[in-house]
């Protein structure tokens, strides 16, 4: 098998951090906040590495778009087993449409046979980049994947849907977006973290790709949602039912 798997990853505010809206309403506070690889992207990296370990893929290439600091998620991905990495350097924040344009250029250059990526970034919660990228490449898509099998030039993807699970069979090349149950990502061992430091990491200036990275959305404001008020404690199930009936009038 000679297939190359491209895994786009994103550096985001760590999932354990409760974000705070910036006082000027322009966004959320990211200064001094712990950053990590988007959890869904870790799952995508894991799946790509497993495909290589099973012999279904030849090489796993990770790519991220961002400032120099975004290198750390590439090193993490290489410590998990990715073979090499590409940093597309920019200081701008890109929308999914623009990200897809960049990734299309990289996927074409790399002649990727499969793109495996997280279904959603936990910062902008867009759940869109994989689908946009698949459309722009003219490739089929297997979104919200909970299992994948590569065989005979096709990939079979089990997908999480509202009422259960659906299975689709796609021609390759294809885009797969990872859902939570696809796998449990491995922890990078210390020797592998050391090894990852020596793996190749290429930096590409975003302008050199010559793609449209303009934003179509203007952020008018970012606000805190209305906080719920803490309620009361009741002492028994009977008291609860009484309150739900007479006070909340909900049953």
């Amino acid at each position: 098998m000679t297939m190359k798997v491209l895994v786009p990853v994103k550096r985001v505010v760590d999932y354990n951090v409760k974000v705070r809206v910036a006082a000027d309403g322009s966004g959320v506070e990211t200064q001094g906040v712990k950053m990590s690889m988007n959890p869904f992207d870790e799952i995508a990296v894991e799946e790509a590495v497993r495909l290589r370990e099973k012999g279904a893929a030849k090489e796993v290439v990770v790519v991220t778009i961002g400032a120099q600091a975004a290198q750390d998620v590439l090193r993490t991905a290489m410590a998990m087993g990715a073979d090499r990495a590409i940093l597309v350097r920019t200081d701008d924040t890109l929308e999914p449409r623009a990200v897809a344009n960049v990734l299309k250029a990289i996927a074409t250059r790399e002649e990727a046979g499969l793109i495996c990526m997280g279904k959603q970034a936990i910062d902008d919660d867009m759940n869109a980049t994989g689908q946009i990228l698949a459309a722009k490449l003219g490739w089929p898509q297997g979104t919200f994947a909970s299992a994948v099998t590569v065989a005979d030039g096709r990939i079979e993807v089990a997908r999480e849907i509202d009422g259960g699970t659906e299975v689709v069979s796609l021609t390759l090349p294809a885009v797969v977006t990872a859902d939570l149950r696809l796998n449990e990502p491995r922890y990078a061992s210390l020797p592998n973290i050391m090894k990852a430091r020596k793996k190749p990491l290429e930096t590409v200036e975003i302008d050199s790709l010559g793609v449209d990275t303009a934003s179509r959305l203007t952020v008018v404001s970012v606000a805190e949602p209305l906080e719920r008020k803490e309620g009361v404690k009741v002492n028994s199930a009977a008291e609860l039912v009484e309150k739900l009936k007479t006070e909340a009038k909900v049953i």
Partner: protein, 301 residues
């Protein structure tokens, strides 16, 4: 301006989230509906829908032919709208890719024809965004828009040929059988967390759900532990619900879970840990052992 709404029909009835999508789209002007597979008749009776594009040949909601078809029709519309369901989230961003526009997912409020509010960071912030695209591609959160009624309209139905799908083939679907209401449209939801301790204990929720005609949900921790199937997951990456009454049993209230239920009208929490974050959002809390409280609750109802 005319909006096109992707309407999902299940067992002959329009899904509630799609009726909410029609209600949201009506804010922009006239509404056409498009229905994949059978079910155009159910969409034709939705109040506010003037025309239904029926695509009986496109079964199983495959994203590739669906997006191709929508893209071919897009120039007639100012907005293309779907519920933020698994189907909407699969197809609409792909459509946006074909049209080279930036989709706007999970809209919770429409300010005007170009300006929308959507949650980011698991609902810990609300972003108001203005789109410069000539065709807006939106998915909307059903829980934030009152649905239109199922009956009352009489739209014309136009049958449309389905494009071929060569790159993507449907293999099979496995749906969980349940007589309970859908999570997203249930009036009452009772959810279990890791505190349920195992899958068998989820049965303790059933008699209460029966009495309240409630849907049963689960936290991500409970799903990850194998106590409940994924389609029961409520949270940032699962289902978003906003019932009249949400009962959280043995779940701590992680940020990503709260993102899926904190717009519920009344929240009840049952947990042994008085410091559990779920109590911060609960209207009524009981600190105690769920294995004692659940049978008592069943009896009291």
């Amino acid at each position: 301006m005319t909006a096109l709404v992707l309407v999902e029909v299940e067992n002959g009835a329009v899904r509630q989230a799609s009726r909410s999508a029609v209600a949201a789209a009506s804010r922009f002007g006239a509404v056409d509906a498009i229905v994949f597979g059978d079910g155009a008749q159910a969409a034709a009776t939705l109040p506010g829908v003037t025309r239904v594009l029926s695509v009986p040949g496109l079964v199983n909601d495959l994203a590739e032919p669906a997006a191709d078809l929508l893209a071919a029709r897009a120039k007639d519309y100012s907005h293309i709208v779907a519920a933020a369901s698994a189907t909407g989230k699969n197809i609409l961003p792909r459509l946006a890719g074909l049209l080279d526009v930036q989709p706007i997912p999970d809209v919770v409020e429409i300010k005007d024809a170009d300006t929308f509010v959507r949650p980011i960071y698991a609902g810990n912030a609300l972003a108001t965004v203005r789109s410069a695209d000539s065709i807006k591609v939106l998915t909307i959160r059903g829980s934030n828009f009152d649905p239109v009624a199922a009956e009352g309209g009489s739209a014309a139905i136009e049958t449309v040929e389905a494009p071929a799908s060569e790159k993507s083939v449907f293999v099979k679907v496995e749906l969980s059988a349940s007589d309970r209401p859908e999570l997203e449209s249930a009036r009452v939801v009772i959810s279990g967390g890791k505190g349920m301790k195992d899958a068998a204990n989820f049965k303790l929720l059933e008699p209460i759900a029966d009495k309240l005609n409630a849907a049963i949900g689960a936290s991500r921790a409970a799903v990850d532990s194998g106590f409940a199937p994924n389609e029961m997951q409520v949270g940032q990456t699962g289902k978003i619900v906003a019932p009249e009454l949400y009962i959280a049993v043995g779940l701590s209230g992680a940020i990503q879970h709260l993102a899926g239920m904190k717009d519920s009208r009344v929240i009840v929490a049952i947990n042994t840990d008085p410091e559990a974050p779920i109590f911060k959002v609960a209207d009524y809390g009981i600190v105690g052992d769920l294995f004692e409280i659940l049978p008592a609750l069943e009896k009291a109802l």
